[in-house]
Amino acid sequence: MNTYNEAFRDIPGTTVFDATQSRLGYHLNMFCMSLMKDENRKAFRADESGYLRHFPMTDAQRQAVIDRDYNRMISLGGNIYFLAKIGATDGFSFQNLASKMTGVPEEDYRAMMIAGGRPPKGNRSKTDPAR
């Protein structure tokens, strides 16, 4: 019963964090929450694979974390508010993560934002004729 999630599928480039995603990603997000403690950030940085084994995540989720593949983490149930703690542990801003997720260099992403951001035209609906 994925009707809630499916209702959002018309919005391009967007995975709404609903029950489907939350159930998939519970332990991935729990790992992210652990990074709110400095000692845990240090332990993660010292041995990423070893640290991730403490959490009952899937191997695919662990690999996506190690690869810093944020779009993959989102598809596997990660929530951006929690995933951002991985980015911050790496010393990166939200904009850096956004550049990774949108596949453009950070300077280009920053320039797009300064120019007014990603416009609504063509980005509201997959059926938008401007796409």
Binding site: D10, I11, G13, S22, N71, K85, F94, G116, G117
Partner: protein, 287 residues
């Protein structure tokens, strides 16, 4: 009875915390944003609130996916901020106003809102940064707070209509509180932004303008949108505007706009600021 002196709605982008800590308010990137706040400081100096009732979203500091209330009301004597794991500074603890918290909780439950009450609660950047923007002076925060969270992390979110009704109920409770306190109602977050996925960076200025106008002149207009409409129009995280809707609904009767500001971008976000006063408050002050 307590008086609602007005409402301030403001964005709470985490990067603001870094800019304040590094003293970057006058940098070209930040200046158009921070320049919006001195008129708010002057207005606050005039209306002198004692308490702020703040509608906001917790982003995982106090609530996680293990227990996630749709609406929660803080009823603590104090609310600490803490390390959010986002590399932004931790801000000062805020004092609570538990008498008003419990009065609001009783009012909400009487109005059939099945809320969660919290006698211990951490407040994240969504409450602490707006306080830092409104009262940049240092020292103790000059207001006590009643924090009210609206789930914005995990769908299904409450509808804009429900958030409006929540605000109405909170407003009634404030105005029936036996106290001579002067109460500021705040709504934080927004405006349009999307942090995640291939659509990250999404901004919708015309929808933001529509919201800022409707919040002054026709708040019921926004209750016709669904949460999904807001995701489409304002971005996946643009649903934070529902906290602004709740704050607006807490104000009785017609309002007048005292001040506003709007700037793209702060980080990934269209930053908005709106200060509202009730017309009756403005009139009684003039009389």
């Amino acid at each position: 009875m307590a008086t609602i002196v007005g409402s301030v709605m403001t964005s709470h982008v985490p990067a603001i915390g870094g800019a304040i800590a590094k003293g970057r308010q006058a940098d070209p990137y930040w200046k158009p944003f921070f320049d919006g706040y001195p008129p708010v400081h002057s207005w606050l100096g005039r209306v002198k609130p004692d308490v702020a009732v703040v509608f906001f979203q917790d982003h995982g500091l106090n609530f996680f996916l293990d227990k996630l209330p749709t609406f929660a009301v803080g009823a603590a004597a104090e609310y600490p901020n803490a390390d959010e794991g986002w590399g932004i500074p931790t801000l000062k603890t805020v004092r609570g106003q538990p008498d008003l918290s419990w009065h609001i909780i009783e009012g909400l439950v009487a109005d059939e809102f099945d809320i969660t009450s919290c006698q211990e609660m951490k407040i994240d950047h969504a409450l602490s940064l707006p306080l830092a923007l409104l009262w940049p002076g240092g020292g103790e925060w000059p207001v006590r707070v009643v924090p009210i969270t609206i789930n914005h992390v995990q769908h299904p979110l409450p509808s804009p209509k429900r958030c409006h009704k929540l605000g109405e109920s909170v407003g009634r409770a404030i105005r029936s509180w036996k106290s001579d306190a002067r109460v500021l109602v705040m709504g934080t977050g927004g405006l349009s932004h999307q942090l995640d996925g291939e659509r990250a960076g999404f901004i919708n200025k015309s929808f933001d303008m529509l919201c800022m106008d409707a919040l002054v002149n026709d708040p019921l207009k926004l209750t016709r949108y669904s949460a999904m409409d807001i995701v489409r129009e304002a971005g996946a995280q643009g649903t934070e505007v529902m906290a602004w809707m709740a704050a607006r609904a807490a104000m009785p009767g017609p309002v007048r706009k005292v001040h506003s500001n709007y700037h793209i971008p702060i980080s990934n976000t269209a930053a908005g600021l709106l200060v509202l006063e009730n017309e009756e408050t403005a009139l009684s002050k003039a009389a």
